[in-house]
Point group: C2
Chain length 434, copies 2
């Protein structure tokens, strides 16, 4: 028998219900913040991803040559497509531009828990606003999305960091601009690679022993408030070098204050250990993590003020994040938060040789007014048809007995409460099932 | 600037609204008939499509070799994936199985009106029922979907045909079984290729002049009722040869009668000119067409009783159809049937330096109870913020004036009716916007 490809999922109706539940929750939460849905192509020119993407994503591309000799790739992420769309209409679109997408993405990854080769991601982005209120809204939307799924501050938190703060610190330490990206990349990998490997890497970047630099970086990552960082900075740098750093710390304070006002104080933690792997990030970056031993990353994002210009558009500040369906579904399952209501109205008509035509006519009318209504294709007896109604999870049976029909009536049986009423046939058209 | 690939669409929010409107209508209509949603992989093993697909689809495949040296293809249609899923769980699934999918498909086609290289299709299928009631339900669902979009019998009709009837006719004419597929293919192309080319093709298949055969085929395609066909058959064949044909005509009558009961009499026309290109069809086949000069095909499908077995599953009768988003959207636009309601509740908070915190707190609460609520990232004056609220199509403004706030009140301004009321702040949490 044919099989599906490794890493590509099939959703049978019971699995699709979970998927749909997640997407509907995503959708209502972000729409309550005023984000509008868009969609872009799943297949894109390869060149869209070959510049400045970070090595990891480039290695994982599904790419090929199409029948028109074009180099093409299945999209590994949405931001490049989105950036191109924004760039193309940058002047016509009213700012701030608040858009979201729920779409498929493709990465040729090693198979493991939480990883598939095709996954669906919620992408949420704000364009045209450089101020911290946009960062605050992006992060508070992320918190709202998690809350709408039933997650509380017992389940998750958001680690907030600032690449601009790191840049101003590196300037203070005299690390030249062209080496700052590599240092940031070391900090990004610190948690995974550990102390000695990080020191080695840093040393080879700055060309001298990096133990003192590593100590400072570690110390900073351990400081969890703007105030603590400010105090450390006061001791570390002279007044002139302090200025840029303090300015940036002021922005951090403002952002944290706005997040507090937006009800996110219990969810957000300053943590300079977060840097984000993708090369296009600037300014604030953040990642949502599960609490507890697994501590899976649930979502991540940040500022990317230079992307639109690099795609041929105007200067356009941007901030956004993505959340994958695979890890989030795992998280909801393990926290027993997938409560999908099955309490829908579904009608099943039970009829017999002489009453079937009436039943089918009525079903047609019910469907036309949006009521889910079915009937058996088989001419079985009453109990066989009732069994089918129950198997299909129907809430009501319409029973078309010959005697009732002769009186111009039909029986409505509530299958959940085992109650039944008899009503005149003509009342069915306006009958309210509940 | 980078561009998207030819034939791949971008949906800006205003385009996405149309897309979403269509999908929601599709979804509610088929769910009212009791179909359940499923989804399968967009990328599949190439071999799934290389057997018995019909040459046209094979030529249009987007296929390549992945990083694991697997031959893979973007799915050109859903039925193979669906068939595999059904085959894998055939014994566990309760019959009849009624499933639908709204998903992307990929075909490398010549670009023209109504054709893109990626399109979204609604697929609706019933498994496990061989009787005509399943065909009737499939076709009546197609009619219901079109009706739910505002299309009437002035706009479209369904041409119904029967491959089994053709097979029994060809047997009556003595055309050997191994040549029947080719003859069906000629009938399928008759409308496009015209009389003389069809006669030539038929002649080369049957090995003698096909003019008499062509005359008979043309005559039959012109007959639009079972009764007319029956009368013709009575003259054409002797009693023994007639039996199978008459049996099949009886099935046609039964199907038409059921469609009548299901409210489809005005929409369905018997038309033996329809054969369908895909090789896996058996039994009844049908296509929905627009009326009028363009007469675009809006949807098509039919019986495919052998597919599940050919994919390794058990004997499992099946009937289904597909409807593409591109032609359907064109049809709705041209008939002025895309009336997308913009009448949603969207709240915009207007606040000032000393009242902003209160505004942001209230907005957070509104969002938490699902009300769409926004605010300006800029600290502009009243009229600037009001302008932004209108640009975003908001229905209500919450006005946080200093005086009102001092009194513990907020003004709610209905932006559509230019009416306003002042309410106590604490009432906002339960205020019903309408």
């Amino acid at each position: 028998m044919f099989e599906s490809l490794p890493g590509f999922r099939e959703f049978y109706p019971e699995d699709y219900k979970t998927r749909d539940y997640l997407f509907q929750k995503w959708r209502s939460a972000v729409e309550s913040v005023g984000f509008e849905a868009y969609e872009g192509p799943v297949l894109e020119p390869l060149e869209l991803y070959t510049e400045k993407m970070g090595q990891e994503i480039s290695d994982q591309l599904f790419h090929f040559v199409d029948k028109g000799a074009r180099k093409v790739a299945l999209r590994p992420e949405m931001t490049r497509t989105l950036g191109r769309m924004i760039a193309a209409r940058a002047n016509a679109l009213k700012r701030p531009i608040k858009w979201y997408n729920i779409g498929d993405h493709f990465r040729y990854e090693r198979m493991q828990k939480g990883r598939t080769r095709c996954f669906t991601q919620l992408n949420v982005d704000i364009f045209g606003e450089a101020g911290v209120l946009a960062d605050a809204e992006a992060i508070s939307t992320l918190v709202l999305v998690c809350q709408s799924l039933g997650l509380t501050s017992d389940h998750f938190y958001v680690r907030l960091s600032d690449r601009d703060l790191w840049v101003s610190l590196m300037e203070g330490w005299g690390i030249p601009a062209e080496k700052q990206g590599e240092v940031l990349s070391c900090i990004d990998k610190l948690e995974k690679q550990g102390e000695s490997k990080t020191i080695n890497n840093l040393s080879s970047i700055i060309g001298e022993s990096a133990e003192p630099l590593f100590e400072k970086i570690s110390k900073l990552i351990g400081l969890k408030s703007v105030k603590a960082i400010e105090q450390w900075v006061d001791l570390e740098f002279d007044e002139q070098k302090r200025q840029n750093i303090q300015k940036r710390l002021g922005e951090c304070s403002l952002l944290l204050e706005s997040l507090d006002t937006l009800g996110c104080a219990d969810f957000v933690e300053l943590d300079l250990g977060i840097v984000r792997g993708l090369a296009y990030y600037t300014g604030f970056v953040f990642e949502a993590f599960e609490k507890g031993k697994d501590s899976r990353a649930l979502a991540g994002g940040g500022r990317y003020n230079n992307l639109i210009k690099s795609l041929g558009g105007p200067d356009m500040p941007a901030v956004g994040w993505g959340m994958g369906d695979v890890t989030m579904t795992d998280c909801l399952v393990e926290n027993d938060l997938l409560h999908i209501s099955e309490d829908q109205i579904r009608v099943f008509a039970i009829s017999f040789e002489n009453t079937r035509k009436q039943a089918l006519r009525d079903i047609t009318k019910l469907r036309a007014r949006g009521v889910s209504a079915q009937f058996s294709y088989k001419s079985g007896g009453f109990s066989k048809q009732l069994k089918e109604a129950n198997q299909k999870g129907c809430s009501h049976a319409l029973i078309y007995g010959e005697d009732e029909l002769a009186r111009g009536e039909v029986i409505i049986k509530d299958l959940r409460k085992e109650k039944e009423v008899s009503i005149p046939l003509q009342d069915l058209e306006t009958y309210h099932f509940e």
